[in-house]
């Protein structure tokens, strides 16, 4: 079960020490009750099934992801007869499948375009992690916000930014979502509430916390009917950064509607998570600050979706933040310029067998939610979408020279906006009085 030769660690004594040889990041893991299920500092129950699970959870030697327990519970509870209760309907399943295929096909096309010289600079691909993006973002409304890192193409696509806009942005054309001024690492979309796209790791976390703060402010001070939730996506390396802890503290302190989603793909460029982190179990950092911390198998979109539903629901109801650690893996290197020499091929092979797309396909076909041909049809459709995006990007014009100096300021002449909402410099009266020089 333990897959990688990347090194074994000694568990800290608080965890069952009987399993000292096992790497913490295998596909099955137990959550000690204090972390999430029986989270005692919250009066409300987070998962209705917590009582039944915790008795087995406390001492068992095998480890299971939280949501898989939930899944089983749900199946037991709701299965009246022999018909298995499924986690998703056919429409939901097809939507998830399409989104993941879009993410995968798009990123593969990015790699091709990069090696042909149409894309340049830093490009960080998301292959292998699609379950996290699809599992979380497909549960959001349009007004909810997503804040991401430099590995943001698929987050933007899942949130609704069109493939054409993202592809032209990567080509540096003026029809891109940021008119070519942002690039791969800075995907912003006001319409879809995709708040970026940040190159510095950890930078997006306070910004996401601020967006969550705004939701709460709108509700409490401006008295608007606002239950918008923010998702902050970031990686395992970020969890050692000061800003992460600062925001865990403030989010719990002020009970902000935010979900901190850790995409733990075990590697920060060439630095293994185990080499850089004193306690590699990131979900434990949540309870240290007073919020629930959950670990979930990030290669399985259905499990991610179940956990996401709970976490987002919590935030929407005003119960505060959640820290979700998704164990996932990136099939490609850190960026397209990364030779990716430090990762063990055996580890890569192991995770390749857990490809989230193959897993969902298997689930859907085995449970007769969709036929092979329907899924193939989706794949074909997505191929066309991506090719169309490339064509659109190719045909789009590069930015005009005058665009260089545009958009530095929202109010370029620097005189401020007057009470009537117009630029002050255009008001003929404004230079009278003491403003006279």
């Amino acid at each position: 079960m333990a897959c990688s030769a990347a090194g074994k660690i000694i568990h800290p004594p608080s965890i069952n020490s009987a399993r000292s040889a096992q790497k913490p990041h295998s596909s099955h893991k137990i959550i000690s009750p204090s972390a999430f299920l029986g989270f005692t500092s919250q009066p409300d129950k987070l998962f209705p099934v917590s009582r039944t699970i915790s008795s087995t959870g406390r001492r068992s030697a095998t480890v299971m992801a939280v949501s898989s327990d939930v899944v089983k519970e749900k199946k037991l509870k709701n299965a009246p007869s022999s018909a298995p209760n499924l986690l998703i309907t056919k429409e939901e399943g097809l939507e998830l499948y399409e989104d993941m295929i879009l993410g995968r096909a798009f990123e593969d096309m990015c790699a091709q375009m990069y090696y042909r010289g149409k894309m340049f600079g830093f490009v960080h691909l998301y292959n292998g992690q699609e379950a996290v993006s699809t599992g979380f973002i497909k549960l959001l409304k349009k007004e909810d916000c997503v804040v991401s890192t430099y590995r943001d193409h698929v987050h933007a696509l899942s949130k609704g930014v069109s493939a054409r806009a993202v592809m032209s942005e990567l080509f540096g054309k003026t029809t891109g979502c940021c008119r070519g001024q942002g690039g791969s690492m800075h995907m912003f979309s006001k319409e879809h509430n995709m708040l970026g796209g940040f190159a510095f790791i950890g930078e997006g976390i306070p910004v996401a916390t601020g967006a969550a703060f705004t939701s709460k402010y709108k509700r409490e001070v401006l008295k608007e009917d606002c239950d918008e939730v923010t998702l902050a996506f970031f990686g395992d390396g970020t969890c050692n950064n000061g800003q992460f802890f600062e925001c865990l503290n403030m989010a719990t302190l002020w009970k902000l509607p935010i979900v901190f989603v850790v995409e733990n793909n075990l590697w920060a460029i060439g630095m293994s998570h185990l080499r850089s982190t004193s306690d590699p179990q990131i979900w434990k950092k949540g309870p240290a600050f007073g919020m629930p911390g959950v670990h979930v198998d990030g290669m399985d979109v259905l499990k991610v979706r179940e956990v996401a539903k709970e976490a987002i629901g919590r935030a929407r109801r005003g119960e505060g933040p959640t820290l979700v650690e998704c164990e996932t893996y990136r099939f490609r290197g850190h960026s397209l310029a990364d030779p990716d020499e430090l990762r063990d091929p055996a580890e890569k092979a192991h995770y390749a067998t857990r490809d989230p797309i193959t897993a969902l396909k298997k689930y859907m076909t085995e449970n007769n939610l969709a036929s092979e041909s329907e899924l193939k049809g989706i794949e074909k459709k997505i191929d066309e979408v991506v090719e169309d995006a490339v064509e659109f990007g190719d045909k789009s014009p590069v930015p005009a020279r005058s665009q260089l100096l545009e958009n530095v300021f929202a109010d370029p002449r620097g005189f401020g906006i007057g009470p009537d909402g117009k630029y002050r410099c255009e008001d003929p009266k404004f230079t009278e009085g003491t403003a006279q020089v």
Binding site: G210, E246, D411, F415, T434
Partner: protein, 372 residues
């Protein structure tokens, strides 16, 4: 003070600037008319925050000690009681965290005023000021404007040592996407802070701790709640014809005192209060240099790559033929601020440094050694 009074009176009704003698007569004659109200810079900032918060419910203040402590320097006094803890927010000691939270709130539609206890602490949050606030409107091609104000005391105080005394005007002034303001008087403080809060772009508002208690006369227009000063325009505090002195924040006071001393010796100095470090009011500065033909820049910050260096470059580029003498730069000493009182006095420009520099620029002194 006299210079300021005179300028204010001159501006009120007469478009043409008065000479010093005329001005004094005007003051004397107006001594019995409506007395100008006096306001400290602290009161000016407090009233500006109060008015902007009551006008727009999206404005909120966040920072260390802004609420229950009434503000580390009492700038936000009374605001917690008036607006409540949801709008005047005491934070833990997490500059990077709360500056970032402010930026995120600004992205999403609110208008935060983030206070740094001093701008030295903004270095912990500088990633958010520059990377997520200043650059966002550009990176997102206009989609994410960031109507945020970062304010706090800047520059040297009295005896606070090296890590609490740096002037950040030059650092922030070099970043595209930021507007950087440095008020001097109560009128500047009120007008510029209101303009900054209403502005849709990130503004770095550099106050000065030693000016907080200084009192200035303010006209009725300044007290009006819709009073705003334009961002990007400097103010000529004192008219002159022999030399131009540019300065901002506390150095305006010193420059005006120096101008008084020089006037007695027959040198009429024109003192320009920059008010806005970015965008720099190059046209006013150049117009003045073209009139006087000599320039002395005064600032508190370090000399290398400072505000004075930028002004010199600007003047050389635009008004080279008009210069009759090399430009003189007066800056803080090129050392971290010492603690001992006499050393600290030497590390910050004083009035006689400015007087000496002006005399050098006017060839009235033989020594050309460039001492700070």
């Amino acid at each position: 003070m006299l210079g300021i009074l005179r300028q204010r009176v001159a501006c009120k009704g007469n478009p043409a600037p008065l000479s010093l003698e005329q001005g004094i007569r005007v003051i004397a004659s107006k001594a019995f008319s409506s007395s100008a109200k006096e306001m400290t810079v602290r009161e000016a900032l407090n009233s500006a925050l109060d008015e902007e918060m009551s006008a727009d419910p999206k404005v909120f203040i966040m920072g260390e000690e802004v609420g229950e402590y009434q503000g580390a320097y009492k700038i936000s006094k009374g605001l917690l009681d008036k607006y409540g803890p949801e709008r005047v927010i005491d934070t833990p000691i997490t500059e990077a965290g709360f500056a970032g939270i402010g930026v995120g709130a600004a992205y999403y539609g609110l208008r935060p005023v983030i206070e740094f206890m001093t701008f030295n602490f903004s270095m912990q949050a500088i990633d958010h000021i520059i990377n997520s606030a200043a650059k966002s409107n550009y990176m997102s091609a206009g989609q994410m404007s960031v109507p945020i104000v970062f304010r706090g005391p800047n520059g040297a105080a009295a005896g606070v040592g090296a890590q609490h005394s740096q002037c950040y005007a030059a650092w922030y002034g070099s970043c595209p996407g930021l507007k950087v303001l440095a008020p001097y008087s109560a009128e500047d403080a009120r007008g510029l802070l209101k303009a900054a809060i209403r502005d849709p772009d990130p503004v770095v508002f550099l106050e000065n701790e030693l000016l907080y208690g200084s009192s200035f006369p303010v006209s009725a227009e300044v007290l009006d709640s819709s009073f705003c000063l334009p961002i990007g325009k400097a103010k000529i505090e004192r008219e002159g014809k022999d030399v131009t002195i540019t300065c901002f924040s506390r150095m305006v006071d010193y420059s005006l005192q120096a101008a008084e001393i020089l006037a007695k010796e027959g040198i009429k100095a024109e003192v320009i209060n920059l008010r806005s470090i970015r965008p720099l009011d190059r046209s006013t500065i150049n117009a003045s240099v073209r009139k006087t033909n000599r320039l002395v820049t005064v600032e508190e910050g370090y000399p290398q790559h400072g505000v004075g260096a930028e002004i010199c470059a600007s003047v050389l580029e635009d008004s080279f033929e008009y210069l009759d003498a090399p430009v003189e730069r007066i800056c803080g000493a090129d050392v971290p601020m010492p603690y001992a009182a006499n050393l600290e006095r030497m590390a910050v420009p004083q009035v006689d440094d400015i007087v000496r520099a002006v005399k050098r620029a006017c060839y009235r002194s033989s020594s050309l050694a460039a001492t700070a």
